[in-house]
């Protein structure tokens, strides 16, 4: 191995190691600071902050999903929040069914918005969502199936590059419009909210919040490990070959379409899981999650962190969302400008994102 490759390999290992270390530290420290440190202490972490960190981590899972197909396979999906939202809706439907008679109208059979619309019975596609296992399967199946059908059509027709990006935008926008309609039976404009409990536990209780936080941390760890396993396998190398020279890969006998489709479906399912973990923590899912700008933001997270590394995507998701939280509290009008500037700066000056910047600084210090 040449020096440069050893350096690259080492950087990759260090990055993954750093990711696991930080994730573990977060998963230990956050419960400690939240539950063990008394409330008056300056070190106490509020349940609000716990939920915020949990939300960032569900975004990080989404970022890993986008990095897998964009960073490794070169498919720039500008519609991944559609899969995220579908996973979220599947979970939201389960949470709606858990409300039971505690809704405003006290109807045990129908969610409030259906009573309000004068519906007399539960639509067929709501059947089964009172069972957690069923909802959990739907969290994977709904985004997976959409990705399968969409990908099958798009990849088979050899739609690539900017054209594919545009139709993914159209996909998420179409779903946005559809879910806005009351007749669809997903709560229209208001979406699904006013959740009470999950698996019998009160959603407002700090203990439940903590459990959701830890579940998200675990899911992020598993998603990252699965991503590393895939990208490190021979399949991962084929996928990267597709990214770099698609037709060449075809000529050595790989069915490029199948590889893209497989990874696209996996990535969509991962995004669905992220959405399902997001919804109980923020307490609402509405059609706004389908909006095209959301999907573009995810791509910005990955670009800022550094694509094609997985941990870069996680870093980007956390950094950009922390900035978003800060800006929307302190300077709400500035946020979109800041986001746009960030994207331009990263594209022009940091093609490898923050991860690339860090290793460049290290190299320079090593050389000096």
């Amino acid at each position: 191995m040449t020096f440069m490759e050893r350096l690259l390999a080492w950087r990759n290992e260090r990055g993954a190691f750093g990711f696991y270390a930080v994730l573990l530290a977060t998963a230990v420290l956050v419960p400690l600071l939240n539950l063990a440190v008394p409330e008056g202490s300056p070190l106490h972490m509020s349940t609000y902050t716990v939920t915020l960190v949990g939300k960032y981590m569900s975004y990080a899972i989404l970022a890993v999903a986008v990095d897998l197909i964009w960073g490794y396979c070169g498919i720039l999906s500008l519609g991944h929040s559609a899969f995220f939202a579908l996973g979220g809706y599947a979970m939201g439907m389960y949470l709606m069914r858990q409300i039971g008679t505690r809704g405003v109208y006290g109807n045990a059979e129908l969610p409030d918005f259906m009573v309000f619309l004068n519906w007399s019975e539960l639509p067929w596609y709501w059947q089964g969502f009172d069972m957690f296992w069923f909802a959990a399967i739907m969290v994977l199946l709904a985004p997976g199936l959409l990705a399968y059908v969409f990908g099958w059509l798009a990849f088979r027709s050899r739609v690539t590059g900017v054209y594919l990006s545009i139709i993914t935008q159209a996909l998420t926008y179409a779903l946005l419009l559809a879910f806005f309609r009351n007749e669809m039976g997903f709560g229209g404009n208001n979406g699904l909210t006013d959740f009470k409990e999950i698996l019998g536990f009160d959603l407002k209780a700090p203990g439940t919040r903590m459990a959701l936080f830890l579940a998200t941390a675990l899911a992020l760890g598993v998603a990252f490990a699965a991503g590393r396993m895939i990208t490190g396998s021979r399949l991962g190398r084929v996928v990267q070959a597709v990214r770099d020279a698609e037709s060449r890969t075809r000529f050595i006998g790989y069915r490029v379409e199948s590889y893209k489709l497989w990874l696209f479906v996996f990535s969509a399912m991962l995004a669905g899981v992220a959405g399902a973990l997001y919804v109980p923590q923020v307490g609402i899912i509405n059609p706004g999650e389908f909006s095209p700008i959301n999907s573009i933001e995810v791509v910005i997270w990955v670009a800022v962190g550094g694509r094609g590394t997985l941990y870069g995507a996680v870093l980007g998701a956390v950094v950009v969302n922390y900035a978003k939280t800060w800006f929307t509290t302190v300077l709400p009008d500035i946020w979109l400008y800041a986001l746009g500037t960030l994207f331009v700066v990263v594209t022009l000056f940091l093609p490898q994102g923050l991860v690339g910047l860090i290793s460049k600084l290290k190299l320079r210090r090593g050389a000096a």
């Binding site: 190398r237 075809r250 000529f251 006998g253 590889y259």
Partner: protein, 284 residues
């Protein structure tokens, strides 16, 4: 298990798109190559037009099993288009293309043709620059290339041995861990030939193998191609007449999309029609 395959079977046959575009998701095991008539490739009356321009005009060409065939011809004679037709990149307007006695190339997609045993080396070296030399050879290796297989596949000792063998043959043993992108032009050409060898094809299509090579590299390439003929059938497209002279037994001259002359290099070079269209002026 191949999920896409399972799904596409749910669609009635008549609704499925045309075979070439549609069955890219289907696992297709081509029937074994039948060389009973000692001919590996039959191209008959192939015509390809681009916007009215006839790139190939009723091209008819046969390649014998184990033969080393050189194809020459001026720019625009249709050499690359012919390779595109054989490898499934371009579909002809008319004509037939058979690989051995039983495999109809015109109904197959690029990956299917590659898996059936036709390997191609491009004019411009196209190796995977972000992969190491070793990984390039691993990617090209013959075998089951379905998605689920690849997710869990590990190299067997025999496969590792095979890669080492090829690394030796193409003289890149020292560079096995180097990124292909940092190789010299000649080394990339060699790596690409190595990838072709890993595919274990019956028929090798080699487009301008010595473009940009030093005389020593050219000589080694000639040796390598000669050693391949016999076991494999090799079709070489080349401009370098000295190189063609050093390897060719049988030469085909293309002109304006069809075969102008065929024969040994001396016969061809003395053919007045060839002299007129290809060599331009008499050689002295």
């Amino acid at each position: 298990m191949n999920v896409p395959h399972a799904f596409s079977r749910l669609i009635p046959a008549r609704l499925r798109p045309s075979p070439r575009s549609g069955d890219v998701f289907e696992r297709h095991n081509p029937p074994g190559l039948d060389l009973s008539h000692n001919t590996v490739l039959y191209l008959e009356d192939i015509t390809v037009s681009f916007d009215g321009f006839r790139a190939l005009n009723k091209l008819t060409l046969y390649v014998e099993a184990g033969e080393l065939r050189c194809i020459i011809g001026p720019n625009g004679a249709g050499k690359t288009t012919m390779m595109d037709v054989i490898t499934g990149k371009t579909r002809p307007d008319s004509g037939t293309a058979w690989f051995g006695q039983t495999i109809d190339l015109l109904g197959m997609s690029e990956p299917q043709i590659a898996q059936a045993g036709i390997g191609r080396k491009f004019q411009k070296p196209t190796v995977f620059e972000q992969h190491t030399v070793f990984q390039n050879l691993e990617l090209a290796m013959a075998g089951d290339k379905s998605v689920w297989k690849m997710l869990f596949a590990k190299l067997s000792p025999a496969q590792l041995l095979r890669i080492d063998e090829v690394l030796e043959t193409i003289g890149l043993k020292e560079h096995r861990g180097a990124l292909a992108g940092v190789l010299s032009h000649g080394q990339k050409q060699w790596l690409e030939i190595g990838m072709l060898l890993m595919q274990e094809p019956q028929l090798l299509l080699v487009d301008e193998p010595v473009a940009g090579m030093t005389p020593q590299e050219t000589e080694r390439t000639a040796e390598l191609l000669l050693s391949l003929a016999g076991k494999h059938s090799v079709v070489v497209v080349e401009h370098d007449m000295d190189f063609v002279r050093s390897i060719a037994r049988q030469v085909t001259v293309l002109h304006e999309g069809s075969v102008l002359a065929e024969g040994s290099i001396d016969e061809v070079q003395n053919d007045p029609r060839v002299v007129e269209v290809y060599l331009g002026e008499p050689r002295c």
